[in-house]
Amino acid sequence: MMPKKTVNYNQVELMASVAAKMLENDKSVLVGTGLPVLATMLAQRTNAPNILIMYEAGGIGSQASVVPVSVGESRTFYHGIAASSMHDVMSALQGGFVDYGFLGAAQIDMYGNINTTVIGDYDIPKVRLPGSGGGNDAGSLCFKTIILMKQDTKRFVKKLDFMTTPGYLTGPGAREKVGLPQNTGPYRVISQLGVYGFDNNTKKMMLLSTHPNVSIEEIKENCSFELTIPVNVETSKEPSDQELKILRQIDPMKLVIGK
């Protein structure tokens, strides 16, 4: 194992910075609570100033300068273009107006299906988690879903305890077969160790880049299913000082970044 270099950022800041770079300017994004908000607000201040931010409770186009504590609170429409309703935002998703869905997850499998409902047996749960929230909606309806989550063998699993939100289900063609909108599905998974995409032919999760100072061995050790590992794997970019400065400005209480 490589010796760990001391760095001036934590895992959350790294993940936010990597995620922010994925968002393209002039696209729309449905943002889930926590880390997705931080990443999107960073993108809004760097590579995607015109990103159209949508929150499920009705906030559209927020220009808040501090991360909202809740995806329903007043910062979600601060200096925005609309404070509408969940019906309005969810209809925009279903109608094809939303490019990216930005989600968190407790468990993920090789096809990008995710669990946010329960750990253990459904009827006698070990841990009852919040449930779908807007997760199933974003994962079903947005063109490209980006999932931000912690990686270890209990989280990157062979079989989910519960499939809350659809990824590619059982493989190529499965989404269309069950009636999900065409050309939708998971696009990227970002963990504290690396970035993953999905192989076009198999729809299985594929390593795209490892974060700085992370080995491919470490990636494999922290994953319970077989990852597709291509010959060329890039190294993710470290957050710049400027990005770190912005992240700490938009989360001054360190609600997401952590203390």
Binding site: A57, E73, V178
Partner: protein, 337 residues
């Protein structure tokens, strides 16, 4: 000819569903079209309109614009066996489950406090079987249940839930669409027995205005059989008529108007006052144990007779002024210091 068939049925319990004809006839018998003065106390509204076993839904979203005055009153009156819509129900449902008022939930998002972590008390209740999750659903599907409910139709088609365990545990059904022949989810309508919604202003008849995002309160208020509106302020009726486009909930949907300034505390009232993080933390800390839950409820609910008395306990006008200021600076104005 294309034959429409049910492809799959969710196995979750169907709650809050009414045959539209049955609901129309209930509405005809019970919902007055006469503007009447509906002002009453929280105590009166809860004892009059919430019965044991009712299916209830609380407005707002998470810790935002929730009618906490009514939540506390339900606990105080020890209402039991309530079924609750877990439609991003966070602080409200956590307290109601902890107090033993709610023992069944249909879950879109519950048992979490968003960034503040998981709910200790209600999670414990689910994990030990004291509270039962009767079905799963997503946020979009839940508000579409209310949309179908307000439209007086039995279901609404949509393209969520497909292919997942969330569907399997839901009360929805999948058919092949008669127009496209593709699989389509039918989401059953929902007409809750009672909804409780906190608003910015309302006249004495119940014509209510909400500032900021409506979330799903437009659909929920119109779909519910009984509707208790709590309001920061009761405003003169002539003000409603000056700006009728501001009315989100017209009076004929409303059964009770309860004036409760700061009635959403410790939740946020957009553009009015911020989350009381001290109070929310106190609950999250105490709710780690059953004894802590008892201590909290005794201190803030059972030994208190009115919402005013509760407000004095949480720090009185000084604290409230600070929360108002915070909403205008760190909250709504969102200025980084």
């Amino acid at each position: 000819m294309l034959k429409v068939e049910i492809i799959e049925e969710g196995q979750g319990q169907l709650v809050g569903f009414r045959d539209p004809d049955e609901n129309r006839s209930w509405v005809l018998d019970n919902k007055s079209r006469t503007p009447e003065d509906k002002r009453m106390s929280a105590q009166e509204a809860v004892s009059k309109f919430i019965k044991p076993g009712d299916f209830i839904a609380s407005g707002g979203f998470g810790h935002v614009r929730v009618s906490m005055a009514i939540i506390y009153e339900i606990i105080r009156q020890k209402k039991q066996n309530l079924i609750m819509a877990g439609k991003t129900a966070v602080h409200d449902i956590d307290l109601l489950v902890a107090a033993g008022c709610v023992d069944k939930v249909e879950v879109a998002y519950s048992f979490g406090h968003e960034l503040r972590g998981l709910s200790n008390a209600s999670r414990r209740a689910v994990q030990t079987g004291k509270c039962k999750v009767v079905s799963e659903i997503s946020n979009a599907a839940y508000q579409w249940r209310f949309l179908a409910g307000m439209m007086g139709i039995p279901f609404i088609p949509s393209r969520v839930l497909l292919g997942t365990d969330t569907f399997k545990k839901s009360s929805a059904k999948i058919i092949n669409c008669p127009f496209t022949n593709k699989p389509l989810t039918l989401i059953p309508s929902c007409n809750p027995d009672v909804a409780i919604i906190h608003v910015h202003r309302c006249d004495k008849y119940g014509n209510a205005q909400i500032d900021g995002a409506l979330i799903e309160d437009f659909e929920l208020s119109h779909a519910s059989r009984r509707l208790i509106v709590t309001t920061e302020k009761v405003t003169p009726h002539r003000k409603t008529r000056l700006k009728p486009w501001r009315t989100s909930i017209p009076f004929y949907y409303v059964d009770a108007v309860v004036e409760v300034p700061y009635g959403a505390h410790p939740c946020q009232m957009p553009m009015e006052y911020f989350f009381d993080e001290d109070h929310i933390s106190e609950w999250l800390k105490l709710s780690k144990t059953d004894d802590g839950v008892k201590e909290y409820l005794e201190k803030y609910v059972y030994s208190v007779n009115s919402f005013d008395q509760y407000l004095r306990l949480i720090g009185g006008q000084r604290k409230l002024n600070r929360l108002k200021k915070m909403e205008m600076t760190t909250g709504w104005k969102a200025e980084v210091k």
